[in-house]
Amino acid sequence: MEFLLALLFGVLLSAAIYLLMARSLARSILGLLLLGNAANIAIIASGRVLGWAPPLVAPGANALVADASNPLPQALVLTAIVISFGLTAYVMVLSWAVWRGKGTVDTEALRVAEPRGLPAADPRDAAEAETLAADLLPTRTGAR
């Protein structure tokens, strides 16, 4: 069973890395999702697959049954899933805002914060590169 989990971890990890290297933001987000699930599989596999019975202590007993599964990794994964869900939701909204503002989610086109022509040897060239990048933008959404 651990072997299968390890294999799944490897497949998820390589797919995640492949997607993360894409230029499209949408693909990168899918990559992050897969990476989060790869991490979950890693935690489950690290906790060892001990058995299949639910980890509940029966009434009257004071220990788990013999083939109970390991509850701790499940608790960890549950936390990790919730966190990963929240953060992915944020990144999706962020990329939607980028798309709405620029009409593209190609990461090569996201050069506003790091405009071409920087760093420059002359301060005036640097200032020009900054204003050029700012001028190409649609108006800001928030008040300044």
């Binding site: 933001l25 690290s46 929240g86 990144v91 805002a97 914060a113 640097a126 200032a127 959404t141």
Partner: protein, 504 residues
């Protein structure tokens, strides 16, 4: 019953947690939000001061949440290093909260600013006090989600652009950290750091420990913006509004450095010869790349962002050498750097307010217009470069002395050269923004007056005073750092405080 130590460890987390909840619920009541933030800032300063005092008198203190004995429950633990970091977090919270009262960008988005700032303080404080790896991960995420909200505050396009890079690369780093947490759990069967420290030497397969530890160091290295994993920082920090950039620059990367120091001193103290050369390489690369990047730019915030990176290098020097003196140097450097770097970003915000831009080409004549601002810039700038008698001099002295004592001459030489180039960058800002005549075509802005001026300059002056105090009255700070370094290097006190002495 909750003891004194339990309260002292829980309060620095409870206060921002309550503040976050209350200010989030009271979004339409600006005055109440402001009042809550002010009370929280004072409360947090007092609580963290009490925590530091307790740790100085009692040694390492630990608290088991819900009375579940370690290593089964959640443990909060504070040694001198962690307690001082909590205290400085409180100071940063207070300084940026005060500055924000006068900052136009924050005033436009104040409803969100208060809960997000409290959440950030909560995450950072939790990461400093966490006694187990999984909670460290959770606190990292709390900090991260708050910082995601803060970095886009103001809603500029440039900010969205920076936030994409910040979010993607930081999420990647935390997920890598989570994978390493899972694997470390698989190897040791525990998540509690102190328990893990005792079990790691018993593991037969030390190669696997090294591989997982390397993965963990890579994740923390990315968080700490260490060469070659620093790309997200200069791509995003300069887009945030001034108080956000200040608190990011002060705290976020330092949480990464804190985790690096904790992992290396606690989990990898002996038997892993690869750590020191790796840290040597990281320290040298981080210092050099950061300072050269700063030298190449002509925009104040970009220069300061690159200087965060170069200064992280000095802290890594302390980890590389790992003698008690070197670790003391790293602790002192972090304390000094957090104050100075936040201060510089706050001053940059005032410069923009006074001169209309962050670009050095269009700034000028600020010394003639506002000499006080010039003075308040000069203090942290010279301290950053390590000019005596300011705090940066002593911090650098500690690191360099430990380097020369341990015979790491090349690394100490690189650190010295980095200091000189830092001075060059700071002089560049001084000459262009303050000393040069106003360039033609630059519109004259009205001077900052009234309450706004006080709100903006009071935290700057306060942090400047802290810098001067550490510089002129060094002895208690140096003694504190040395004690913290001893504690980090020996690690016995930490393990005993968490695990108790009964368990074999």
């Amino acid at each position: 019953m909750a003891t004194r130590a339990d309260w002292l460890l829980a309060l620095p987390l409870l206060l921002p947690l309550l503040a976050c909840a209350a200010t989030a619920a009271l979004q339409s009541h600006r005055d109440l939000q402001r009042g809550i933030t002010a009370i929280t800032a004072v409360g947090l300063l007092l609580a963290s001061a009490a925590l530091v005092a307790e740790v100085i008198s009692q040694g390492v203190i630990a608290s088991q949440m819900g009375d579940w004995p370690a290593p089964f429950g959640i443990t909060l633990v504070a040694d001198l290093f962690a307690a001082s970091m909590v205290a400085i977090t409180a100071l940063m919270y207070a300084a940026t909260a005060l500055y924000a009262r006068g900052d136009a960008d924050v005033l436009d988005n104040e409803a969100l600013w208060h809960p997000l700032l409290a959440a950030l303080a909560l995450g950072v404080g939790g990461a400093f006090l966490a006694g187990d790896l999984f909670n460290l991960y959770v606190w990292f995420e709390v900090m991260l989600i708050a910082s995601f909200g803060l970095i886009v505050l103001g809603g500029g396009r440039e900010q969205l652009d920076g936030a994409v890079k910040y979010a993607m690369l930081n999420l990647l780093a935390t997920t890598v950290f989570l994978i390493s947490v899972g694997m470390m759990f698989g190897l040791t069967g525990t998540l509690n750091l102190a328990d893990m420290a005792r079990r790691i030497p018993e593991i037969e397969n030390q190669g696997a420990v090294a591989a997982v530890a390397f993965l963990m160091l890579a994740a923390f290295g990315a968080k700490a913006a260490v060469f070659p994993l620093f790309f997200w920082l200069p791509a995003s920090y300069h887009t945030a509004i001034a108080p956000v950039a200040a608190i990011f620059a002060a705290l976020l990367t330092k949480v990464g450095v804190y985790a690096l120091i904790r992992i290396v001193t606690l989990l990898l103290p002996e038997g892993h010869a690869w750590v020191a050369p790796l840290m040597w390489f990281l320290a040298a690369g981080t210092m050099v790349v950061g300072v050269l990047g700063a030298a190449a730019h002509w925009e104040i915030r970009r220069i300061l962002s690159f200087h965060i990176i170069s200064q992280i290098g000095y802290m890594i020097v302390g980890i590389a050498i790992a003698t008690p003196l070197a670790l003391a140097g790293a602790v002192l450097y972090m304390l000094h750097h957090i104050v100075v770097k936040a201060n510089l970003f706050l001053v940059a915000g005032v410069i923009r307010r006074a001169g209309g831009t962050f670009s050095l080409a269009t700034l000028g004549g600020l010394w003639r217009r506002d000499p006080w601002l010039g003075l308040l810039f000069a203090i942290p700038a010279l301290s950053l470069a390590g000019i005596p008698p300011l705090s940066g001099f002593w911090a650098k002295l500690f690191v360099l002395k430990s380097g020369f004592d341990a015979g790491w001459y090349v690394l100490a030489g690189i650190a010295l050269a980095t200091g000189i180039l830092t001075l060059y960058s700071m002089l560049k800002i001084w000459m262009e923004a303050f000393w040069k005549e106003v360039p033609e075509g630059t519109p004259e802005l009205p001077p900052i007056t009234g309450a706004t001026r006080w709100l903006l300059l009071a935290p700057v002056a306060g942090l400047g005073l802290v810098t001067i105090t550490i510089g002129l009255w060094t002895e208690p700070f140096a003694a504190f750092a040395l004690a913290a370094g001893e504690q980090l290097a020996s690690r016995e006190a930490y393990i005993t405080a968490v695990m108790g002495v009964i368990r074999p």
